[in-house]
C-alpha cells in the first residue's frame, strides 16, 4: 500500500490532469452531441484494458499470446448469458465474466505453459480458433446467430441492464474498470510476482534454479490477465448488446489488435499498452468511419493501416512508443527491458 501511495504522490499532477480530462470528455461529447469521439474513446479504453492485461503475460512474463480473444469471448458470453437466461444484472455479470474467463485461463494454462516461446504463441492461436468453432456449433449459446438481450422497458430496467443511448455512459464504466485494473496491476508488478515474472522472461532455467517455480507464477499472471480481458468482453456486451462468435473470438480484431496495442505502446513499460491503444484505435477508427463506412469498396483499409503501423514499430522501435521515449530520456525507465536487447 505504501508503494501505491508513493507512486500516486509522485505522479499526482499527471494523474489529476489525465483523470480530469477523461472524466470531463464524455460529458462534453454528450453535451455537444459528438458520438464519434465518444465511441472512439470507449474503444480506446476497452482495448487499453485488454492490452494492459495481455501485457502482464507478454511483456512481464515473456509469454506472447495471440489468443486472448478466448478470454474476451468467454467474458462477453458469460455476461450476456447471465443477463439473457438468468436476468442477472451486468453490474455483477461483468465481474462473473472476468472470473469465468480467469478459470478458463487456468484450465488452458495447464497444457499451454508446458510450451515455450513461439510454440506457446502458435498454440494460443489454435486455441482461439477452437473456441470460435465450438461456439459456432454450440446451440445453447445461440450458435452462429449469436445472442441479443431484451430491450429495457423502464428507467429501472435500463439501469439494471445498463442500456443507455450512445457510448457516453459506457465510457465512464470502462474508465472505472481501467482504474481498478491499473491499481491491481501496479501492485502485482511491483510485488515479488512481477519480479519473478521478469526473471522467468529473461531465463526460465536460471529462474528455476533460484527456486522460482515458473509454472506457478505464469498461472498467477494468466489468472489476472484472463480476468481483466474477460471484463473487457463484458464491457463489449453491454455496449454493443450483441454477441456472436465471429466478432468476439476474431483472431484479427481482438487477439491481434490487443497485440498491436501492446507493441505500439511498448511492452516493457507499465503504461505502454494504454498509450498504444490511445494511438492505434483513433487511427483505425478514423479510417474505418471516414473512409471504409462511406466507401465499402475499400473495406480492409483500416486493418491495412494497422499493418503498416505495426511493421514500422516492429522494425524501427521494437520497444514501442514508451520504449522510444525512454531511450530519448523523455520518460524515466521503470521496467527492465530484456537483456538480449541491451547493446
Amino acid at each position: 500500500m505504501n508503494l501505491l501511495i508513493n507512486a500516486i504522490r509522485k505522479n499526482l499532477n499527471y494523474l489529476i490532469l489525465v483523470s480530469v480530462i477523461l472524466l470531463i470528455a464524455p460529458a462534453a461529447f454528450m453535451k455537444l452531441n459528438l458520438p464519434f469521439p465518444a465511441n472512439a474513446l470507449f474503444l480506446c479504453l476497452m482495448y487499453a484494458i485488454m492490452a494492459m492485461a495481455w501485457n502482464l503475460l507478454a511483456g512481464y512474463g515473456g509469454q506472447l499470446s495471440i489468443g486472448h480473444a478466448v478470454f474476451f469471448g468467454v467474458g462477453a458470453y458469460t455476461t450476456m448469458i447471465l443477463m439473457l437466461y438468468y436476468q442477472v444484472t451486468p453490474w455483477v455479470g461483468i465481474f462473473v465474466g472476468g472470473f469465468v474467463a480467469a478459470i478458463t485461463g487456468l484450465a488452458l494454462g495447464i497444457p499451454l505453459f508446458r510450451l515455450r516461446s513461439h510454440w506457446f504463441t502458435l498454440a494460443t492461436i489454435a486455441v482461439g480458433e477452437i473456441f470460435k468453432l465450438v461456439f459456432i456449433t454450440w446451440e445453447w449459446v445461440g450458435g452462429s446467430r449469436g445472442l441479443q438481450p431484451p430491450i429495457a422497458k423502464s428507467d429501472w430496467e435500463a439501469l439494471y441492464f445498463i442500456q443507455y443511448a450512445g457510448p457516453y455512459v459506457y465510457v465512464y464504466i470502462a474508465l472505472g474498470v481501467l482504474a481498478l485494473e491499473l491499481l491491481v496491476l501496479y501492485l502485482v508488478v511491483n510485488s515479488k510476482i512481477g519480479f519473478y515474472l521478469q526473471a522467468i522472461r529473461e531465463d526460465e532455467d536460471a529462474a528455476m534454479s533460484l527456486g522460482v517455480n515458473p509454472f506457478n507464477y505464469k498461472m498467477v499472471a494468466m489468472f489476472i490477465s484472463a480476468f481483466f480481458t474477460g471484463m473487457g468482453g463484458g464491457l463489449y456486451t453491454i455496449r454493443f448488446r450483441f454477441v456472436d462468435p465471429f466478432a468476439v473470438f476474431d483472431l484479427i480484431t481482438i487477439s491481434v489488435y490487443i497485440t498491436v496495442a501492446g507493441i505500439v505502446g511498448g511492452i516493457y513499460s507499465f503504461i505502454g499498452p494504454v498509450v498504444g491503444s490511445f494511438v492505434f484505435v483513433p487511427v483505425s477508427e478514423y479510417v474505418r468511419a471516414q473512409i471504409v463506412s462511406r466507401f465499402p469498396r475499400f473495406y480492409g483499409l483500416h486493418v491495412f493501416v494497422l499493418g503498416v503501423l505495426l511493421l514500422i514499430i516492429s522494425l524501427i522501435a521494437p520497444d514501442g512508443i514508451m520504449g522510444w521515449l525512454e531511450k530519448k530520456g523523455v520518460v524515466k525507465r521503470r521496467v527492465a527491458i530484456p537483456v538480449e536487447e541491451v547493446e
Binding site: L64, R114, L115, I125, L133, L251, R297, G307, L311, P318
Partner: protein, 291 residues
C-alpha cells in the same frame, strides 16, 4: 447413423487430394522455418496472391490456370525476395516478439492491401475442361482436384531434386543445418536467405494457383490455410520439407474423415486439437529429428 464403406473411401480420396494443396503451402513454410528460423505468418497470404494472379491472368488474358503456374511462382518469388530484403533481413537476430509481430504486420499488409485493391468480393474461376468429373466405380473425382494433386507431386519432386542435386540446394540444406559452419565453408548465407524465402512463398503461390481452380477466391481466404500450414509443419517435424508433404496429406485425410463422422464445422477442431497434442507430446513432429 450409417456410414457406408463407399463414403469412407471417397472421404479418403477427397482428403488426399485437398491435403496435397495444404502440403504445398506447408512445404514453403517448413523451408523458410528450417533455413532462417523465422515463422512466416504471412505464408498463406502469398498463396492468396498466387490465386488472384491466376484468376486475373485467366479473366483478362485468357491464360490457362495450368500455364500460369510458372508465372505465379516467378511473380510471388520476386515479391518474397522483396519482403525478405525489406523486412525479414532486419529481424533475423531480433527478439522472438519482434519476429512474430513483423511477419504478422506483413500478413495484415498483404491480406488487407489485397482486399483494398481487389475489393471484399468472392470470385470463382471456372475452366470447362477442369470442371469435368471422373468416375472410378463408386468414387467421384473432380478433374481440377486430380490435376492439383498431380501438379503437387511434380512440384515436390522438383523441389526434392533441387535440394539434393544442385549446388544451391545443397547450400540451402547446409545453412539449415548450421548457419555458422555454412558461412565458414564459403556459402553466401544472406543469398541463401532470399532464395529460400522466394522459393518458400513461390511454392505456396503454386498452391494458390491450383486452389483457384476449385475454391472461392477471396482476399481473406488465407486465414484458414495459414493455420493449417502451421499444424502440418509442426506435425511433420518442424523444418522437414518432405515431412510437411506427407503430413499435409495426413491432415487432409483426418479432416475429411472427421467431417464425415463428426460434423463439417468441427472437422477443423479435430485438426487444431491434434496440433496442440502433437506440440505437447512430441514437439519434433512425426518426421523431425531429435535435437
Amino acid at each position: 447413423m450409417l456410414i457406408g464403406a463407399e463414403s469412407v473411401l471417397s472421404a479418403l480420396v477427397d482428403g488426399v487430394l485437398i491435403g496435397s494443396i495444404y502440403s504445398l503451402i506447408a512445404m514453403g513454410l517448413a523451408l523458410i522455418w528450417g533455413i532462417m528460423d523465422v515463422i512466416n505468418f504471412a505464408q498463406g497470404d502469398y498463396m492468396m496472391l498466387g490465386a488472384f494472379l491466376t484468376y486475373w491472368l485467366y479473366v483478362l488474358a485468357g491464360i490457362d490456370p495450368l500455364l500460369s503456374i510458372p508465372l505465379s511462382f516467378a511473380t510471388v518469388f520476386v515479391m518474397g525476395v522483396i519482403t525478405q530484403k525489406a523486412v525479414i533481413d532486419r529481424i533475423l537476430d531480433a527478439p522472438m516478439v519482434s519476429q512474430i509481430t513483423a511477419t504478422f504486420a506483413v500478413l495484415l499488409i498483404i491480406r488487407y492491401g489485397a482486399e483494398v485493391v481487389f475489393g471484399p468480393y468472392t470470385r470463382r474461376l471456372t475452366v470447362s475442361y477442369l470442371s469435368e468429373v471422373l468416375r472410378f466405380g463408386p468414387i467421384v473425382v473432380p478433374m481440377n482436384r486430380l490435376v492439383a494433386f498431380l501438379v503437387s507431386i511434380v512440384v515436390t519432386a522438383v523441389l526434392f531434386l533441387f535440394l539434393k542435386m544442385t549446388y544451391t540446394g545443397i547450400a540451402l540444406r547446409a545453412v539449415s543445418q548450421n548457419r555458422e559452419a555454412a558461412y565458414l565453408m564459403g556459402i553466401n548465407v544472406s543469398r541463401m536467405y532470399w532464395i529460400a524465402f522466394g522459393i518458400g512463398v513461390g511454392i505456396s503461390a503454386i498452391g494458390g494457383t491450383l486452389l483457384a481452380t476449385f475454391y472461392p477466391i477471396h482476399p481473406e481466404m488465407a486465414a484458414f490455410f495459414t493455420l493449417l500450414a502451421f499444424i502440418i509443419v509442426v506435425f511433420g517435424g518442424f523444418g522437414s520439407v518432405f515431412g510437411a508433404y506427407i503430413s499435409g496429406i495426413i491432415i487432409g485425410v483426418t479432416e475429411s474423415v472427421s467431417a464425415l463422422f463428426i460434423s463439417p464445422t468441427l472437422k477443423d477442431v479435430v485438426a487444431f486439437l491434434l496440433f496442440i497434442i502433437v506440440i505437447l507430446v512430441k514437439p519434433t513432429g512425426l518426421f523431425g529429428k531429435e535435437q
